[in-house]
């Protein structure tokens, strides 16, 4: 068994037995291949189902918002960055959360794996020694892990938890990778080309709001698209309204999004939403040298004000 799985289970068991926490949030194996399920553990028996693999990609910070109990959470680099944001925004208190940090080798891209299966359904995935093997009826192929990582993981600069109370395995090496190649390419286009690109990109949206609901940073008590008095945005699939939703949401993420990729993964119709959030991430980085969720002490630039802030954008 993966030693991380053993560590997660034994830590969870100890924390529950000692009464240090009331709840442990981690993952259990999913009911189908290539998906893991968030698992809420309150009893020692339930720790036996805790699990860890390359499909534990959902950002568990999403389940911490406004919790009252003492809770331990199994967290990758991106989950801990979102947690930093949550603590800064008073969505949870630092003292309430016990972070079981798991250094992350990057999560696997289910869609990319399925494409490589060439039409055969993947029934099992085996991870070992930097390789990933997919199996199905008459299918057995293996790839270097690096080739089948999710895009957000390939360009991740914080694979190790930025905040933790226990570290459940040795830290992994960080890479200073280029994060904005695709964003810059879109940036370089003419306004007409960009408009066409975004129209094309957002036209499959069915407004299921999975992108919003899996996002830890989308925690407004009432989302602006749900306001009915007054109603800010239409409900149909009219592209104007679809745009309004996605662009407003992206702007709400400026200086907050940690690029965990949950939104893109959750999208059933495969919209590459992260080009929007990473554009804003890039701007925040260039203007204020700020990277969301990396430092509890550093105030988020869009949630603070200084008298000497440059204000030349106000005409």
């Amino acid at each position: 068994m993966d030693t991380r799985v053993e560590r997660i289970r034994s830590e969870a068991k100890r924390l529950l037995e000692s009464g240090e926490v009331d709840l442990v949030i981690g993952f259990r194996k999913g009911s189908i291949p290539m998906v893991s399920r968030p698992w809420f553990v309150r009893t020692v028996e339930d720790t036996e189902l805790l699990h860890w693999d390359g499909f534990c990609s959902l950002n568990l910070c999403n389940y911490l918002t406004k919790r009252k109990e003492k809770v331990a959470v199994v967290a990758k680099g991106c989950d801990t960055r979102s947690l930093v944001g949550h603590i800064q925004e008073n969505q949870i208190q630092r003292e309430q959360v016990l972070v079981l940090g798991v250094p992350c080798e990057g999560m696997l891209d289910r869609r990319a794996l399925q494409e490589r299966a060439e039409g055969t359904e993947i029934l099992e995935v085996v991870e070992s020694d930097g390789r990933v093997e997919i199996r199905g009826r008459g299918l057995e192929r293996s790839f270097p892990r690096q080739e089948v990582l999710q895009h957000c993981c390939r360009i991740c600069r914080h694979r190790n938890p930025v905040l933790h109370d226990r570290l459940l395995s040795a830290e992994v090496e960080e890479h200073q990778v280029e994060r904005y190649e695709d964003v810059e390419e879109i940036d370089s286009q003419s306004p007409e080309e960009r408009w066409a690109y975004f129209q094309n990109m957002l036209s499959p949206c069915i407004r299921c709001y999975a992108c919003r609901n899996v996002c830890p940073h989308c925690y407004c008590t009432e989302c602006f698209v749900d306001c009915s008095r007054p109603q800010w945005v239409g409900k149909s699939l009219d592209l104007n309204d679809v745009f309004t939703f996605h662009l407003f949401r992206a702007f709400h993420m400026a200086g907050r999004c940690t690029d965990c990729g949950s939104c893109e993964r959750a999208c059933p119709v495969g919209i590459p939403l992260r080009v929007l959030t990473r554009k804003l991430e890039k701007v925040v980085s260039e203007r204020w040298g700020f990277e969301a969720g990396t430092d509890l002490e550093q105030l988020p630039p869009l949630a603070t004000y200084r008298p000497d802030d440059p204000q030349d954008f106000i005409k």
């Binding site: 968030p38 359904e121 069915i206 407004r207 299921c208 899996v214 149909s236 993964r265 119709v269 495969g270």
Partner: protein, 344 residues
């Protein structure tokens, strides 16, 4: 002999034939990161070699957004704010490559939109009446498919007008309804050989045999409604669910909608859009009261409606086992586990 055949290479010609008389032919097509049913262009081909489309073709008869009425907001006009019906006529259409589960789902939608109560839904009615279903049987059901739990099967014909079977080099076409038979006759296709019909049967049997043991959600009908409703089961079952609309919007049987008025300039529209029991806004009263105040109640509603209330009302579950909600749920909520838990 009524079964017909179309060689794989002749599929384009077959579709061109279907398009004659101005028919719109909907088929599964790549639509960026997903597969959706869209009207085929002339000489376009559907994507038939993939498992089922991301969204069911229910959007052909029940679009995500549709306008029902138009009105003017210009007070100078005599007909200001008078609702006028949006004409519902349209071309005859064919859905090519609909899977047997999704065709059964049309029969469930029929019950809701056409057979329930005193009124039928004219928007659904007009599209449904001019739509023929040419279904494609599933040679290789997915591990997430459970049509056989819900009374269907990979080659079931309920709801279809024509059943298509992929024999490899050739598609076998078997009429199911009189309309389907008339369509195939008009196209003057070659008759299939007895051996081809036999091969089709064999493929169907193998597909069904590959699906494993079926659980029976009909046992839930015998359970006491209030006991299920009040069960502590829901407390934990909903915890991982993020309450997005993926399951219900991808579901071929979900039929909830929300009516909205919109105004652009002096032109007003009244339309309806898909809605989902997963959203708090769906049941929010004008007073601010919400009878389904938390995620638990919304989650329970979805499964109780599908597996209990609908069964009590209509005798069948409101689920055809297509497996989309299982495949696409971001948090791995699996309706098969809910069925097992509620029928235990």
């Amino acid at each position: 002999m009524s079964a017909r055949r179309v060689g794989r290479e002749a599929l384009k010609g077959f579709i061109t034939g279907l398009m004659e008389d101005g028919r719109t032919v909907w088929g599964p097509q790549e639509f960026q990161g997903s597969v959706r049913f869209r009207p085929l262009k002339k000489n376009g081909t559907p994507v038939l070699d993939v498992p089922n489309a991301t969204l069911s073709p229910k959007e052909v008869v029940f679009p995500p957004s549709e306008w029902m009425f138009l009105f003017s907001t210009d007070p100078g006009r005599e007909d200001a704010f008078v609702l006028k019906e949006v004409p519902q006529e349209g071309p005859e259409q064919v859905i090519l490559g609909i899977r047997p589960c999704d065709a059964r789902a049309f029969q469930i939608l029929d019950r809701v939109f056409l057979e329930q109560g005193a009124h039928e839904d004219p928007y659904y009615r007009s599209k449904r009446d001019r739509t023929l279903l040419i279904g494609l049987g599933c040679n290789t059901p997915c591990s997430t498919c459970f049509c056989h739990w819900t009374g269907g099967g990979p080659f079931h014909t309920e709801g279809l007008d024509v059943l298509m079977t992929d024999l490899g080099d050739v598609y076998l076409l078997e009429p199911v309804t009189e309309r389907g038979r008339a369509l195939l006759d008009a196209l003057q296709l070659d008759e299939a050989g007895a051996d081809e019909v036999e091969r089709g049967k064999h493929i169907a049997e193998e597909a069904r045999a590959s699906m494993g043991e079926a659980k029976d959600p009909r046992r839930i009908k015998e359970k006491d409604l209030m006991a299920l409703f009040g069960s502590p089961f829901w407390e934990r079952a909903h915890e991982a669910c993020v309450k997005c609309g993926v399951c219900t919007y991808l579901c071929p049987t979900c039929s909830c909608f929300d009516i909205q008025d919109e105004v652009r300039g002096a032109c007003g529209f009244r339309g309806r859009n898909w809605d989902t029991c997963m959203f708090a806004l769906t049941t929010l009263h004008a007073s601010g009261h919400n009878p389904r105040p938390t995620g638990k109640e919304r989650f329970r509603q979805r499964f109780m409606h599908k597996l209990k209330y609908f069964q009590d009302d209509f005798g069948d579950v409101m689920c055809v086992g297509c497996g989309r909600c299982v495949q696409y749920c971001p948090a791995n909520i699996d309706i098969r586990e809910i069925i097992e838990a509620l029928s235990a």
